[in-house]
Each structure stands twice: as structure tokens, then as C-alpha cells.
């Protein structure tokens, strides 16, 4: 109850090549316009650009529950002709947030630690390819021990149902082949009701999610829906037969807590132990460590 009053903090990172529909999807997920004055650079400008980190925070309130959502965008990723250094900036950012938290945690006043750690990373895979690209594989392997990866295929309206299934399977196979650790939804507890269990099963079976984003209202079958209007038909964002948007949203909302926990218990702890092995943080802690070591 208290936590509900306090509100939740959640940091979502979005990574993918330009033009994969990331911004549209984020806007659709949170029914907002996170990028009101966006200027899309041309190719010539992109040649010079390096990967940037842009964090935007928005406060969402629904039925008394407050959510302070930070979306971390990574423009420039995958744009350059040589993407070898693409992920350095991103990894540094993730580590920085961990470092800051570690510092705060080890400090004297621990009551109001702000948690800016990245709780979840939506990694956008191109629907135009045949599966994962070399860059996708390398990047995910570089961050899968630092953040929860949720692979997403946006602009899914370019795929027929069969192609979608094939692509999903392909990606899952390649993820396994390369030993990439993506976020796994926990199985439903045995004491949950059947509906919830079924929903969880469905969600797990649909990863990676194939989504279409849009905030435009289109007239379809007599009602107004969010979608995209084509000469051959209307793609409805919230129609489960058209794409997995609703599933993605459900997953994110119902598992926000779990994503935070895994970040804390797994990724952060990983970082912390590595970090402490390497260097001193606060002399007091160091002393405690040596005392512990002396005892054992």
C-alpha cells in the first residue's frame, strides 16, 4: 500500500537501428508523445554522429497508481557504416547507473536512493531481415548480463502470419545458439487462477513479440481504433490477431515488479561483486571486507 502511494520508478531502455519504429511503439505503449520536437537527421549527418543517450521521464498515473517512467533512447545505434563502437556508450551508461546506485547504497543516507538503473531493455530486431544480424548478436551478448533483454520485432505489419512464425522461431533458435540470455517470464505460481496461468503461457509462447505501433485513430468496422491505414486494409494496433502489441503491454505492466527484482537480485549483484573485487568503494566497506576475509 505504501509502495503504491509512493509510486513506482521504472527505467526502460530502447535500442535498435533507426527507422524500426521504436519511438512510435513507446508512444503507443504509454499513450503519450515522448518526442514532441523530434528532428530526424539525414544520412549525411548520421555519418558523423556517434551513439547518444537520451533519457526522457514521464509521470503516468492510472487509478491512483503513480508510475515515474524513464525511457532511455539510443539514437545513432546501428547507423554508422562501422558499428564496432556502437555499444560502448550504451554499456557505459548502464554501468554508470549501477555505479551510482552502488555508491548511494554504500553511503550514509540510504533513505532516498533514486533508482535509475535500467530495468528492462527492449531490443528491436528488424522485420526485414532473415533473423538476427551480427550486430544484434554481439550487442545482446554484451549486455545480457547487465540488463533484462526483451527482444521485440516492430513494424510487424510487413510480415504475413507465416513469415512471422518463421522469423520468431528463427530468432529464438539463434538466441539459443549464441547463448544469449533474454528475460524469461517467471512461470505462474501454482496458486494463481487458471486464466492467469493461461495468459502467462501465451505470453511466454509469443516471445519475441511482433508489434505494430500507432497513435493514429482510424475508422475500422464502424469504430475508431488505433491503427495504420493502408490501401489494402487497416492494421489495428490492439487487435491480437493483427499483432502482439497487447501482449507486450500486458507483459510489461504485469511484470514490472519482477523486472525490477531481477535487475536488483541478478544484474546489480553481478555488477556489484565484479566491482568490489576490482576496487575500493568506501573505506568502511573495504575494512569490513578485509575483516571478513581475515576471519575466513
Amino acid at each position: 500500500r505504501k509502495s503504491v502511494k509512493k509510486g513506482f520508478e521504472f527505467t526502460l531502455m530502447v535500442v535498435g537501428e533507426s527507422g524500426l519504429g521504436k519511438s512510435t511503439l513507446i508512444n503507443s505503449l504509454f499513450l503519450t508523445d515522448l518526442y514532441p520536437e523530434r528532428i530526424i537527421p539525414g544520412a549525411a549527418e548520421k555519418i558523423e554522429r556517434t551513439v547518444q543517450i537520451e533519457a526522457s521521464t514521464v509521470e503516468i498515473e492510472e487509478r491512483g497508481v503513480k508510475l515515474r517512467l524513464t525511457v532511455v533512447d539510443t539514437p545513432g545505434y546501428g547507423d554508422a557504416i562501422n558499428c564496432r563502437d556502437c555499444f560502448k556508450t550504451i554499456i557505459s551508461y548502464i554501468d554508470e547507473q549501477f555505479e551510482r546506485y552502488l555508491h548511494d547504497e554504500s553511503g550514509l543516507n540510504r533513505r532516498h536512493i533514486i533508482d535509475n538503473r535500467v530495468h528492462c531493455c527492449f531490443y528491436f530486431i528488424s522485420p526485414f531481415g532473415h533473423g538476427l544480424k551480427p550486430l544484434d548478436v554481439e550487442f545482446m551478448k554484451a549486455i545480457h548480463n547487465k540488463v533484462n533483454i526483451v527482444p521485440v520485432i516492430a513494424k510487424a505489419d510487413t510480415l504475413s502470419l507465416k513469415e512471422r512464425e518463421r522469423l520468431k522461431k528463427r530468432i529464438l533458435d539463434e538466441i539459443e545458439e549464441h547463448g544469449i540470455k533474454i528475460y524469461h517470464l517467471p512461470d505462474a505460481e501454482s496458486d494463481e487462477d487458471e486464466d492467469f496461468k493461461e495468459q502467462t503461457r501465451l505470453l511466454k509462447a509469443s516471445i519475441p513479440f511482433c508489434v505494430v505501433g500507432s497513435n493514429q485513430l482510424i475508422e475500422a468496422k464502424g469504430k475508431k481504433v488505433r491503427g495504420r491505414l493502408y490501401p489494402w486494409g487497416v492494421v489495428e494496433v490492439e487487435n491480437p490477431e493483427h499483432n502482439d502489441f497487447l501482449k507486450l503491454r500486458t507483459m510489461l505492466i504485469t511484470h514490472m515488479q519482477d523486472l525490477q527484482e531481477v535487475t536488483q537480485d541478478l544484474h546489480y549483484e553481478n555488477f556489484r561483486s565484479e566491482r568490489l573485487k576490482r576496487g575500493v568503494l568506501v573505506p568502511v566497506i573495504q575494512q569490513l571486507h578485509t575483516e571478513v576475509l581475515e576471519v575466513t
Binding site: G42, A43, K46, A80, S126, P231, H242
Partner: protein, 459 residues
């Protein structure tokens, strides 16, 4: 009688057929291209036969070889048509250009347009089959009394050329470049309505994305209406797929130049083949990813390097991901970016020969790059079987102009500009290469050419 082979293009019209192939050297009709109204027939009915050929005579469309052994005279290579040459190439209906130097014929109106005006007579008296500065065809001098009081039958040359072409067939080499998965193979298969390109529908476990760009050329013979076309599709797997794509266009540029070199070598042989096999890349389809934002840096770099070497036709792949407004916006953006960076795609503005060309090509340029969708599956729509893609929200019809611009691309490449693509390649890109080679060394030192190592020929 020769067809004009000056360093500019004379386009033989190709009225549309199922793929338009049968009419490549067809009767000089003006078909109605999907892009505009049919032009006046009189223009096409002129056969201008100005022979002004810079440099040697090499292979080309078979009908160019119809003339006898023409002497090669050392002519300073003139790769680009100068403004002065432009108007002389094709005459206005019934008009005459009294151009200086080796002018065999004057553009004349064929019987269809009525009797030739008297101006032609005067010009005809210039007919002298002398090997002069430019190679000319030794011809029987026609009588001065050439008032066309009766029907001579000059127009039957079209039929003769047609027959020749049907007998010998012709070559067309098309290269496809783009990241994997953009639908290149599907599009080529759709264009030529046959399985000419093996789809890499997913790289198998054993077959990974190649570490460097490979060049794979596969040949097919397509026959339609008695005309044989030897189509070679040159695939470039691995382009743009790596983490580091620096200079990934180099193998492609190298390949293109190698084909020019091969041709050049044949051309300068003492005992030349009657018909030099033409492996030069006539057309390069560059696939742009439909991001909806702008070109990618790699796209820019590639086109910058290669637009001077080969005819590049950019296409927007998998265009079913964009709504109409997004398409228009994206196309405009891409055109602007190309313009700002000085990249000229085919049809290049500088090679427009006359006003008619310019208007027609302007229209095409304004609607390029074509946003296409390819498919090899058929579905039933409104009682007809159409090529398309089936989705839960509708069927995308490939040949429906309100859905995508595939039909425009097909008509453009195959039905209206196929011959022109070959000519620009031969008369301009190849000549540029040749001039550079000759100037560089003042001769032709041997240059290593990779022969059939990298090619798979399935004929």
C-alpha cells in the same frame, strides 16, 4: 542501313507485352507507358542513322553488328555526348540536320508520314561511304533521284532487325544490391516471372552470412514471343550485413570494372569475335530499407561511389510497411538527399537527349525511387488470380498501382528502358572506363581479370 549507335541512346520502343521482351526491336510504335500519355508516333517512326561512333566498334546489341567490317580510326574517345551532338541524333519528323562530317542519312520521315520533303534530297546527296574521321558504313550510294514516289521498303529494316534479334537473342545483366532480407531475390523473380534468383530464405545453419561481400552471377535464358534473352542476375550477398561495413562496396566496384575490362580486351583483339559476350552490368538495383526516416550512411556511400560507374536504380524494398503519406514523404526525402549529395541515379539528367526524353524521364525521376513489393505467390482477388501477399488485414496486390509501384518498375526496366540501360552502359559508362584505361597507360597493359572463379553459370 544502320541504327544509330552514337554515344547517346536511341531507344527502340518496346510496346508492353507480358514482359515486353518480344518487342525489344519491335515496330516503332509508341506504347502507352504507365507514366504518361503516348507520344506522337511520328517521332518514333524516324530512323536516324547518324553514324558517329567514338572509339572502336564493339559488341552491343546484335543488330549493331549488322554492318560489315568497319574500320577503326583512332578517335579521341568522347564518352559523353556534347550538347552539339544532341539535336543531330534524331531528326524532327521530316526535318533534316545538315551536320558536318560523316553523316550518312538524314532523319527522314517514313512513308507513314507521307512523302519526304525536298530537303532530304539535298542531304541524301551527301551520302558518301568514305571512311572518314568517324567510322562509317560502306553503303551503296543511293541515286539522287530519291523522291519517294513509290514505296521503297525502308521501314522493313525494323522487321529485319527484329528477325536478327530473335535469332541471336540478347543479353541483359542486372545486379541487385542491398542488405539481406530486403526481398531482392523475390523482386527479381517477380520482375522476370520466373525463378531466376535463388532465395536465401534464411541463412541455414551451415550457410552463414558471408564475412565479405560475395558476387554471385547466375544466368538464365528467358524466351518470350520467339525472343531469347540471356538474363544474368548478379547477387551480392553480404553487403551491409556486417558490424563493420566499411568499403563493402569495393568488391562490387571491382566486379563491375572487371566486366568492362573483359569487354575492352575483346574489343582490342586483332581477331575479334563477331559478337562479344556482354557481361557488363547494365543495371544495378539498389534496395533501400523502408525506414521511413532517410537514407542510411551506407546507402549514401555506396551510391556515391558507384553512380558514376554503373546505372543505379534505387528501389524502396518491402514497401508494404509504409502508408501512402509515409511513402511520399520518404521518397521526397530520399530524392532530396541524393540530390544534395550529387548522386545521379538512372535515368541521369545529363543524358537526356531531347525535350521528349527529358519530359518522359522527368516524370520517372519524380516518382523514383519506386516503392515496391515482390511476391511469388498468387491469391484470388475479385475473381482474378493475382500475385500478392496475404495478411490478416488484406491482400497486397503486387501489380496493383494503388498498392505499390512494382508495375512501374517493371515497365520502366523491361518495357521502356531496357535497351536504353544497355546503351548508356555501353556508350557512357564503358566508354568512360575505356578512356581512363587508354589515357592511363597510353596502351593496354595486361590487367588481371578474375575469370570464372566467382561465377556460377546455369545455362
Amino acid at each position: 542501313m544502320e541504327e544509330d549507335i552514337a554515344p547517346h541512346r536511341s531507344r527502340l520502343p518496346t510496346p508492353g507485352g507480358p514482359t515486353g521482351l518480344s518487342r525489344i526491336p519491335g515496330p516503332p510504335l509508341r506504347w502507352s507507358s504507365p507514366l504518361g500519355a503516348p507520344a506522337a508516333p511520328t517521332k518514333r517512326s524516324c530512323l536516324s542513322v547518324t553514324l558517329r561512333r567514338a572509339g572502336g566498334c564493339g559488341g552491343g546489341p546484335p543488330w549493331e553488328r549488322l554492318r560489315g567490317p568497319a574500320p577503326i580510326t583512332p578517335v579521341p574517345p568522347r564518352p559523353r555526348p556534347t550538347a552539339a551532338e544532341g539535336p543531330q541524333r534524331r531528326g524532327s519528323p521530316g526535318g533534316v540536320e545538315a551536320a558536318p562530317a560523316a553523316k550518312m542519312w538524314v532523319p527522314c520521315s517514313l512513308p507513314r508520314s507521307g512523302p519526304v520533303e525536298s530537303k532530304n534530297e539535298a542531304a541524301m546527296s551527301e551520302l558518301v561511304p568514305e571512311p572518314r574521321q568517324k567510322p562509317v558504313v560502306p553503303m551503296k550510294p543511293m541515286g539522287i533521284n530519291a523522291n519517294l514516289l513509290g514505296y521503297i521498303g525502308i521501314d522493313t529494316i525494323i522487321e529485319q532487325m527484329r528477325k536478327k534479334t530473335m535469332k541471336t537473342g540478347f543479353d541483359f545483366n542486372i545486379m541487385v544490391v542491398g542488405q539481406s532480407g530486403l526481398g531482392k531475390s523475390t523482386l527479381v523473380n517477380t520482375l522476370f516471372k520466373s525463378q531466376v534468383s535463388r532465395k536465401s530464405s534464411g541463412w541455414n545453419r551451415e550457410e552463414k552470412i558471408p564475412k565479405t561481400v560475395e558476387i554471385k552471377a547466375i544466368g538464365h535464358v528467358i524466351e518470350e514471343g520467339g525472343v531469347k534473352m540471356k538474363l544474368t542476375v548478379i547477387d551480392t550477398p553480404g553487403f551491409g550485413d556486417q558490424i563493420n561495413n566499411e568499403n563493402c562496396w569495393e568488391p562490387i566496384e571491382k566486379y563491375i570494372n572487371e566486366q568492362y575490362e573483359k569487354f575492352l580486351k575483346e574489343e582490342v583483339n586483332i581477331a575479334r569475335k563477331k559478337r562479344i559476350p556482354d557481361t557488363r552490368v547494365h543495371c544495378c538495383l539498389y534496395f533501400i530499407s523502408p525506414t521511413g526516416h532517410s537514407l542510411r550512411p551506407l546507402d549514401l556511400e555506396f551510391m556515391k561511389h558507384l553512380s558514376k560507374v554503373v546505372n543505379i536504380i534505387p528501389v524502396i524494398a518491402k514497401a508494404d510497411t509504409m502508408t501512402l503519406e509515409e511513402k511520399t514523404e520518404f521518397k521526397q526525402r530520399v530524392r532530396k538527399e541524393l540530390e544534395v549529395n550529387g548522386i545521379e541515379f538512372y535515368p541521369q539528367k545529363e543524358f537526356d537527349e531531347d525535350l521528349e526524353d527529358k519530359t518522359e524521364n522527368d516524370k520517372i525521376r519524380e516518382s523514383m525511387p519506386f516503392a515496391v513489393v515482390g511476391s511469388d505467390k498468387e491469391y484470388q482477388v475479385n475473381g482474378k488470380r493475382v500475385l500478392g501477399r496475404k495478411t490478416p488485414w488484406g491482400i497486397i496486390e503486387v501489380e496493383n498501382l494503388t498498392h505499390c509501384e512494382f508495375a512501374l518498375l517493371r515497365d520502366f526496366v523491361i518495357r521502356t528502358h531496357l535497351q536504353d540501360l544497355k546503351e548508356v552502359t555501353h556508350n557512357i559508362h564503358y566508354e568512360t572506363y575505356r578512356a581512363k584505361r587508354l589515357n592511363d597507360n597510353g596502351g593496354l597493359p595486361p590487367m588481371t581479370v578474375e575469370t570464372e572463379e566467382n561465377h556460377e553459370s546455369n545455362l
